[in-house]
Each structure stands twice: as C-alpha cells, then as structure tokens.
Amino acid sequence: MSEFFAMGGYAWYVWMSYGAVAVALAAEIAHVRSRRRRALEELRLSAAPLLSASVAQARSAR
C-alpha cells in the first residue's frame, strides 16, 4: 500500500496533479450546486407574492 502511494519516488508530482484535479472538480461541483440553490431561492422569493396569491385563489375556490 505504501508502495502505491510512493509512486516509485514520484509521489510529489503524481499526487500534486491528481490532488489538484480532485480539489478542482469538487470545488466546481459544490459551486454549481450552491448557485442552483441560490437561483431557485431567489426565484422563490421574487415570486412569493404571486405564489401566495395563487394559494389564496385556490383556497377561496374550495
């Protein structure tokens, strides 16, 4: 196992490369998710009056 991580003496180069890719992908995925959440949240807030109006309408129809 330690032999695997040693990468034949090239551990620094190999793991700095693979590590950077892992960090970059994780960061991008997290960023895309939080942006999506934020966009939908803002949409919900901006449409809140409309939403409550439609809820009121549905209630009065009952």
Binding site: F4, M7, G8, G9, Y10, W12, Y13, V14, M16, S17, Y18, A20, V21, A24, L25, E28, I29, V32, R33, R35, R36, R38, A39, L40, E42, L43, R44, S46, A47, L50, L51
Partner: protein
C-alpha cells in the same frame, strides 16, 4: 428525423431536459472515472523510461483536450447566438466558459508537475505551453467581459464575438508541436498512425477522456439551469417551475 429540435431551442422546454441529462451524464462520468482511475493508477504498468511520473498523462491529456474542445463548442454556440440571436445558445456558451477555464488551468498545472521530473522544468515559454496559457486567459477574459456588461443580451454579443476571435488560438495550440521546434513533445495518439504506446495506456487515456466529456456535459447542463433561472426571472413559465420544485 421525427424529433422536433426547435422545441429544445427554448429555455422552457430545455430546462427539465437539462436536469435529467445532467444527472445521467454525472453518473456516467463517475463510472468512467472509476474505471479510468483504476487503469491509470493500478492496472497500467510503470513506464520504462519515465517511471510512475508518466501516470500524470492520464489526467493531463484529457484536461488539455477538453480545454480545446470546450473552447470550440463554446465558439460554435457563440456563432449560433450571433447568427440566429437565440438566447439559449448564448446561455450554453456562458455555461461552458468556467469549466473550460478549469480544464485549461488543470492542463497547465498537471503539465508542470509532469514536466519537472520529465524535462527538468515546471515551466518553459514553449509554443504549446504559451498558447495554452493564452487559452486560459481567453476563457478568463470572456468570463470577465460577461461580468463587466450589465445588459445580458449585450454581454451575449460581446462575449460571442470575443469567443469567435479567440478561436484562432485553438489550431495554434493543436499544431504548435509541428509548426515550431518545441520542448513539448508531438502527439502520441493519432487517427492515421498506429499509437506509439501500449494498448492498456491508450485505453486508460480514452476512458479518462470519455469521463471528462461526461463530466463537462453534466456540469455545464447543471450550470445552464441556474443561468436560465437567473436570466429568465419574471417569465411566466418560471413561476410554474417554483410550484414544481416546491412540490418535490
């Protein structure tokens, strides 16, 4: 063809489609990356001359290819946006830029960590490396230009124009190893000549490249969903989207 492609050119019908495709390609990317990493780090034998340092190419080559391909796809969407004045094409171009910038940065980074043990230098002002650095700056410039212009439709046109002008850099990167006597080696994989590497290594690179493609598609479609919501706010169909999302 029975598929009505025009249907997908409007954000309304594209939004739910982008969601399910993003999910599908995300799963595919994870599966391919798992298999590719196994080949790259475990199954593939140690290189006779480069030792285990060569294992960096399994991420370096896909990242460098993607940096170039994403640029071409982005320029293609930009041409569409300029020519047909379609919102969604410009949104697709906008969604591709950050991932393209990341791929270019990773290509340079992994290239540096491969170059040090192999050529003896992290960086050199070599034609291919310099033109890839310019590619990264083009991506960053397009993203910055987008943020500098308030009106999104004007930003679309400006970014599309910059993307199209910058596209001239992609063939320069690709052919740089032939046009100039560079430090960077020539290509190891070609469609016309038998590959200059073992089959396992070639397979590893191809699987990792497929994973990078799927990842890019997944993350771009997820990002374009956010862009649609951010830019189409106030549109009636988005209000029904809230009902859908709230129902989940």
């Amino acid at each position: 063809m029975l598929i009505n492609w025009y249907r997908f050119s409007s954000p309304v019908s594209f939004y739910p489609l982008a969601g399910s495709w993003s999910y599908l390609f995300g799963i595919l990317a994870a599966l391919l990356a798992g298999a590719g990493l196994f080949v790259a780090l475990v199954a593939a034998p140690t290189d006779a001359t480069q030792g285990d340092a060569y294992r960096i190419i399994y991420i370096h080559v896909p990242a460098a290819w993607m940096a170039m391909f994403i640029y071409l796809v982005m320029a293609g969407w930009s041409a569409f946006a300029l020519g047909f004045n379609t919102r969604l094409s410009a949104m697709m171009a906008q969604a591709l830029a950050p991932t393209g910038a990341m791929m270019a940065a990773l290509a340079l980074w992994t290239g540096a960590f491969w170059g040090r043990p192999t050529w003896g230098a992290y960086w050199a002002w070599d034609a291919r490396m310099t033109s890839t650095l310019i590619l990264l700056f083009l991506y960053l410039g397009i993203i910055a230009l987008r943020h500098a212009i308030e009106d999104p439709r004007r930003a679309d046109r400006a970014c599309a124009l910059l993307a199209l002008v910058g596209a001239v850099n992609v063939p320069i990167i690709y052919f740089s190893v032939q046009w100039w006597n560079t430090l960077h080696q020539g290509s190891s994989i070609s469609l016309t000549v038998a590959p200059k590497m073992a089959l396992t290594m070639l397979l590893g690179i191809l699987v990792m490249t497929a994973a990078a493609w799927c990842y890019t598609i997944a993350v771009t479609l997820a990002r374009v969903q956010s862009i649609i919501v951010e830019r189409e706010r106030g549109a009636e169909w988005l209000d029904s989207l809230i009902h859908l999302e709230a129902a989940r």
